[in-house]
Structures are given as structure tokens and as C-alpha cells.
Subunit: 458 residues, 2 copies
């Protein structure tokens, strides 16, 4: 290990080396991601149609697929300096444990109170809302990682933040709720009596524990019916991938600083915000024919959009109030079984990543829940960080690739995204320790059933 020591355990960029612009992956794509469609007319959504829902500057970012770089406003750069640069860590101890000749690096995004990379986009979205003179924003949250990040961001810009939290999470995961309240957000269990759609749902299903689809509908209604509010979202959208490019840009700068050339880049994928951000500058080189990286998306076997879904237009929400997006999808009705604790539960995938996958520019694998927690524990014990279940999907595949190198003797360089910490996921770890965690894998019939309800577009 001693001659390697020139490369520190953790590479921190200097503040002066931090990215000053986000990179817009779509600018370098020959096949652009398909546009969002108006669910009524099935025509591409215009900026004007999106204005009641989204902030104006964010609509520009959402629709622009030609501008390669967007300058990061100084205020956002300043906020980034409070918790960034995120370290790029050389997993010396994991390598040693695995006895692999592979070199493993991970970009750790959990060094902030939100506990994940979500803050990178939350602060940007809050900034543009403030700049537009809005009073506040609305959003939905499931387990609460995105809601936490947005609450922090809104608190920083003194912006009101209304979070609709899926009722069962609100009741069963009170800690995330309290973090949001600490940052001054109002957190409402969804469905609620605060919105028309909430009242309708409660009238029809008095005992419902809520769903993400319902919470989205409430948040959108609250935004469009309140003066000075807009709706914000933490993944899937192009604008979110744009903001998250800060992950990849920092990673690449850190690698370049030490002359390290990665062979394989691995990220977990739910809606795609972390993966899209991590791979952005590497995919740029690949799109331009400069490099031939292997890029691997990892998804749960219980929610396998890439590996078993269909590339088609679909609803983004179960309430069907949002625009249609073309993406790898399992159908907007698809919900992973309740025993799935590993996150990454979204039925679809970012349009940008979907197009890249369809073009053969990246691979995808699905992994079983128990294997993910096994990898998480193995990682924690040697690297010290307690990983979020979501992040642990990437750990699992990084370990698999490192073990392949052990067999072949190849000294490959593997980089993966460690998106966050698992402090609020100890109930899932407990199930794993107690042998009460199993693996749910949907049948072909279940997926076919859900896909049969896709909207008909052309």
C-alpha cells in the first residue's frame, strides 16, 4: 500500500477548483431525450404551459438541450462551499478486504445534514424560486430525503416550504419529519384535507395510508392554487440532472488532479438524478468518442425499470396530473412490494438516461435486496461509513466488479457514487440483522399488467 500513499485516502478539491458551471449532458447527445408531452394534447409542453407549475429559470433549464454549460450562480456556489467539495475516497480498506488488484474510489455525498446528494439540486431550485420573488415552494416526499434537503435549502433562502409526506412515512418515520420541522418546513401527511384532491381521495378511501402519486398531486395542486408558490421535484427531471452534474464534475476534477483514469463508473438509479450527475462529464467524453468507459446503472430487482421495463411514454405520477415523459418504465401503477426497504422505488427513469441506455451507451443490472444489505454491512465494517440502502446498490456492483478483477488479475479502476448515509434506515438494517428481510421480484405477469395501462401516444 505504501507506494500508493501519494494518493490520499480522501481527495478534497480546493474551493478554487470547484465547478463554476453545471454541465448539460443533453447538449452532447446526438439522439436527444424525447420531450415532455402535454397529457391532453400529446404535444410537447411549452414553457408557457409549464409556468404555473415550475419556476421560470428552471423551465429554461428543463427545455434547453443545446447549451452545454450553465453558470452556477454565485449564491449557489457559496452554499455549495458550506458542504462541498464532497470527498473522493480511495477505498483502501475495502480493496484489502477483498484482496483485489482493482482500485476502488467512491464519491461520498453524505457529508451534509440532508444525508444525501439531493441537496445539490434543492439549493438550486430554492435559489431560482427566491430570485423569481416567490413566497415558497411545495413538494412531496416519501421517506423524506428530498424533503429534508429542500427544507434546508428553503431555510437558507428564507423561503416557505410545504412538504406533503406520504402518510405512512409521516407516522412510521417521525425522525425525518422532525428534521424538516427543524429547518422550518411545514410537513403535512398526505392525503390531507388541505387540497381538493386530498379531500376526494379521503372521501373515497377513508383509511388510506397514502402514496407518492397522491402526494405529488396534492403538492402540485397546492402550488398552482396558492399565490406565489411553485412545485419542485427532486429527481427524474432534466433540470435535476443538470444540477447534480456537480457530483461528476468534482469527481472528474479530483481524478484528473492525480492522473487517475477510471475504467468503470457505477451508480444506483431510482429516478436517475445521482447517476445522471455522476456520469455527466464521463459520458461527455464517451459521446464525443474520446473515451470508452463502462458505465453501469444499478437498480433493485424489485423495481427494475431499465432491465425489465419498456421504453415508452408514461405518466410521471400515479395521479396523472403531470406531463407525460418518454422513459424506461414499469407503468405508473407499479409499486414495489412493501417489504422492499432499499429505496429507488420510482416506476420510471430519467428521459435522458433512458435515451442513453437505449443507445447502448450504458449498461444496467438489477440486484436483490438482501445482497445489497450484505454489501452495505461489509462496506461499513471496513470503510467506516454507514451507507444508505440506495447507495448500497452501487456498492454491491462495485464489489462484484472488484472480485472479477481478482479472478482475472486486472488492475481496473472502479469509481462509484456513494449517495448518502443510512442513519434513518436502521429499521431496514434491523430486519436484515434479524433475518426478516426477503427478496421480492415481480413476475412477468405483474409487470405486463402494469405496462398494459401505458397511455397511447401516436
Amino acid at each position: 500500500m505504501s507506494e500508493e500513499r501519494k494518493i490520499p485516502y480522501k481527495i478534497y478539491l480546493e474551493e478554487s477548483e470547484m465547478p463554476k458551471a453545471w454541465y448539460n449532458l443533453r447538449a452532447d447527445m446526438k439522439n436527444k431525450p424525447a420531450p415532455l408531452l402535454n397529457p391532453g394534447t400529446l404535444k410537447p409542453m411549452t414553457a408557457d404551459e409549464l409556468k404555473p407549475v415550475f419556476c421560470e429559470e428552471l423551465i429554461k433549464q428543463e427545455l434547453d438541450d443545446t447549451t452545454a454549460y450553465f453558470e452556477i450562480p454565485q449564491e449557489i456556489q457559496d452554499f455549495y462551499k458550506m458542504y462541498r467539495p464532497a470527498p473522493l475516497v480511495r477505498a483502501y480498506c475495502l480493496e484489502k478486504k477483498l484482496q483485489t488488484p482493482a482500485k476502488i474510489y467512491y464519491k461520498f455525498e453524505g457529508n451534509n445534514t440532508s444525508g444525501s446528494h439531493k441537496l445539490n439540486s434543492a439549493i438550486a431550485q430554492a435559489y431560482y424560486a427566491k430570485k423569481q420573488g416567490l413566497k415558497g415552494v411545495t413538494t412531496e416526499t416519501g421517506a423524506g430525503q428530498w424533503g429534508t434537503a429542500l427544507s434546508m435549502a428553503c431555510s437558507y433562502f428564507d423561503l416557505d416550504c410545504k412538504v406533503y409526506m406520504v402518510k405512512i412515512s409521516y407516522e412510521q418515520k417521525p425522525f425525518r419529519r422532525e428534521v424538516m420541522r427543524t429547518y422550518g418546513a411545514s410537513v403535512t401527511p398526505s392525503p390531507s384535507m388541505e387540497t381538493e384532491i386530498g379531500k376526494q381521495i379521503l372521501a373515497k378511501h377513508p383509511g388510506t395510508t397514502g402514496s407518492l402519486g397522491c402526494a405529488i398531486s396534492e403538492a402540485v395542486e397546492a402550488a398552482t392554487t396558492s399565490e406565489g408558490y411553485r412545485y419542485v421535484l427532486g429527481s427524474v427531471l432534466n433540470q435535476v440532472l443538470l444540477h447534480q452534474s456537480v457530483i461528476g464534475l468534482e469527481t472528474k476534477a479530483a481524478l484528473d488532479k492525480y492522473g487517475i483514469e477510471p475504467d468503470i463508473i457505477i451508480g444506483c438509479a431510482g429516478g436517475g438524478s445521482n447517476l445522471g450527475g455522476l456520469i455527466a462529464p464521463f459520458m461527455r467524453e464517451k459521446l464525443r468518442g474520446e473515451k470508452g468507459y463502462r458505465i453501469i446503472a444499478v437498480e433493485p430487482a424489485s423495481c427494475p425499470s431499465f432491465t425489465r421495463g419498456k421504453y415508452a411514454y408514461d405518466f410521471c405520477d400515479t395521479g396523472m396530473v403531470c406531463p407525460l415523459a418518454k422513459m424506461y418504465t414499469l407503468g405508473s401503477d407499479y409499486i414495489p412490494a412493501p417489504n422492499h426497504a432499499g429505496g429507488l422505488r420510482y416506476h420510471g427513469m430519467s428521459s435522458t438516461l433512458s435515451q442513453l441506455y437505449d443507445d447502448g451507451l450504458m449498461e444496467a443490472v438489477s440486484v436483490k435486496q438482501t445482497e445489497v444489505f450484505k454489501a452495505a454491512e461489509e462496506f461499513a465494517r471496513v470503510e467506516g461509513i454507514l451507507p444508505a440502502p440506495e447507495s448500497s446498490h452501487a456498492i454491491k456492483v462495485a464489489i462484484d466488479e472488484a472480485l472479477k478483477c481478482k479472478e482475472t488479475g486486472e488492475e481496473k479502476t472502479i469509481v462509484f457514487g456513494l449517495t448518502g448515509t443510512g442513519y434513518f434506515d436502521m429499521t431496514a438494517y434491523e430486519k436484515f440483522h434479524d433475518g426478516k428481510m426477503d427478496n421480492y421480484i415481480p413476475t412477468d405477469e405483474e409487470i405486463a399488467e402494469s405496462l398494459s395501462k401505458l397511455p397511447v401516444v401516436e
Copy 2:
């Protein structure tokens, strides 16, 4: 703010700038801290007497009050590199919010899974246990911060780790327990049927929910009756302060790097491990007459050892199995009221710090619980980090001092220790948000009652 920008938000030392030796504060003290006494003979404990309980190398560190620097073994330096250096953060946003001319810095020790500074000593103690060829170590834990840190450290050195966790915490705080299990520790609710003392207590009080004193007794018994085990402790002891000096040494190196001269240094104080570590190199200069820093210990009004306790020999545990220590104490029977959620519940204080306080080399203040949580929330909203309640005691007094500067117009430089994150303390935050938190302050009679049971030493 712009001309200040030369000083980054976060000062990270290079790996090459990290401390290579711990600093032993006692070496520069004219009045040495009083020795531990054998509770039977009332004579100073010898190394031989301590051997059945502690590791040999740690006994040397415990008893040595003349050697100024102890080299940090390479293996520990390597482990430190996995989560250190800890950043020294300039609290630009807090300063702006307070509109103070003061410059505020905090040393943030929460960037590791254990969530606090406890890991700095845990890894050292595990290392020496491993080096001595032991199978494992035993310890007690209350809320679980120390137990978590020790579990991580033992996992790294492949050492068995038995944690006796106060039963009520074991049941009410399952998340910390699961973190320990993730790192492979065995966690036993105390009192248990695994030890003689546990059986005795359960026979006498069948429904007891346990106490720290009882857990200590069980952990000590388990260590002394199992082949190849020793007992370890996370605070109070001289050896722990020695290891924690890494906090202060890094802080001073970071300040020196940018030519920053602190006026006031603030730390929270329970048993004293964080405070003793943070102030070590600054106190050195003060002891040598080179500098005149103000050093402030902050303790909860509900457990005010410094400000309302007595400087005397006392038992370190309620079970009275451990050596006697001379310290500021409230009496080993003293237990803060159950409504106290802010940690720092130990009845006594490190002997080293007690002597320094008695010599007038540092100040102490006590603060009320609700004020602490108010400061915690104010800090979180602008600085982004969700602080542990313990750490928030220091935040409260740092804010108070910064506000004094605002009145006087003085541009003082304030440094405080932010020992950890509050992810596992959301129940306390919830009480605070719901207005259900109150302030318990012991009466003079209660303290006198508890102090009346001090052991008679000469």
C-alpha cells in the same frame, strides 16, 4: 464578506499536516491532576492493580503525567485518515445572521458514522487491545454514541466487542443498537442475566430499566472474568483526553495555517473528553504563559458539575467498583431528571479539567435545555448541519459571546467544538418543536443530598 474569502468556508489540513503525536496536557501542568485511588486502600492505583481491567499500553498513558507527546501509531494514523482531518469551518452564515463583528469557527467532528468525536479514542483503545493480543473488549453505553464508535473501531481491527446498553435505551433507541450490530458488536440490555451483578440487581429490582452505573459494573465484570478481554471507557480518563488531543492539534494547525489567532475557545463538557481534547494545545500555551485565551466549558443546568459541584474524591460509577477520582462532582448518586434530553449526564468531570478549573485556567457556564435547542435550531437553519444536543451547548455560548461582540463592536475570534450530529436525537427535537421540553434545574438541597454521600478520603 468578500475580502474574507481568502479563508475558505472549511479548512481541511493535508494528510501530511495531520498530527503525528498526541499531546499530553498533564506534562505542562504545574499542579498535576490528583491520582486515581484504590477504593479499598485509598492509596494511588498502581499499574499492576489496573492490569486486570485495562490494556497495558493504556495504563501507561493513564498514569504518565510527564511525557508531553505520545507518537500516534501508524495504524491509528491510517485509520484517522479514513475520516479525518475534521474540517475547521468558518461560520460565515451564522455571523451574518447574528450581524456580529465576531469571527466564529467550529471544529466539526461529526463526519463519521459514529457521528461524534468518540471514534478518536475508540480506535486507539481498540488498537492497543489488539496489539496486546486480546480477543475483545467490553464497555457500557447509554444513548449509544460511544458504543457505536467502539463497535466501528473493533470491526476495523477484527476484535470482539461486547456492549452493555442501559435497558431503557436499548428498547427506546433501537437505531443506535442496530448501528452497533451492523458493525458486528454484541449488544446486551443491562441489567442482564449474563453477569453476577446483573443477576443480583434483577433479583432485587425485577422491573428495573437499568442505569449507566449498573452497565459499567456489568462491563467491568465481563472483562475481568473473561479470558482475553479488557474494559474500555469513552470519557473522563486521562488516556481518553490524550487521544482526543487530535481535535485541538488539528484545530490549532488549521488556525496557524491561515494566521488566525483565537480569543475564546468553547466546548461542551460531560465527562470532558471533547473539551479536554479541543483545548489541549491552547492550554499548553496558556500554561507556559505564552497566550491568554479565554477557555469556556459549557455544561447543562441540569447536571452542573463544574458550576455547582464540589472538587473532591468520588466514585466514578454508581456501582462503586471503579477507582476513586478527584474531580468536580455532584455525587455518584446524582442522576439528571429524565426530561433532560441534552446528554452530558455524567455526575463528575475529568480530573485533568477539574484541576485546571480549580486553578482558574478556564471558566465554566451552565445553560438551560430549551435555550440549547433554540441555539441548535438557529445554527442548523443557517449552517446546514443538524447538531447533536451535546454539541449545541457550545453553540449556545458561542452565540452568546458573538452577541456580546455585537454590542461592544469587538471583532473577537471565537472557536468552538461541534462534537457531532443529532440524527439519533430527533425525539428530543420533536419535544422541543411541540413545546413539550422544559428545564430541570436541581435544587441546592438535591445537590447537597447527593454530595453528602461522597466517600471520606483523609
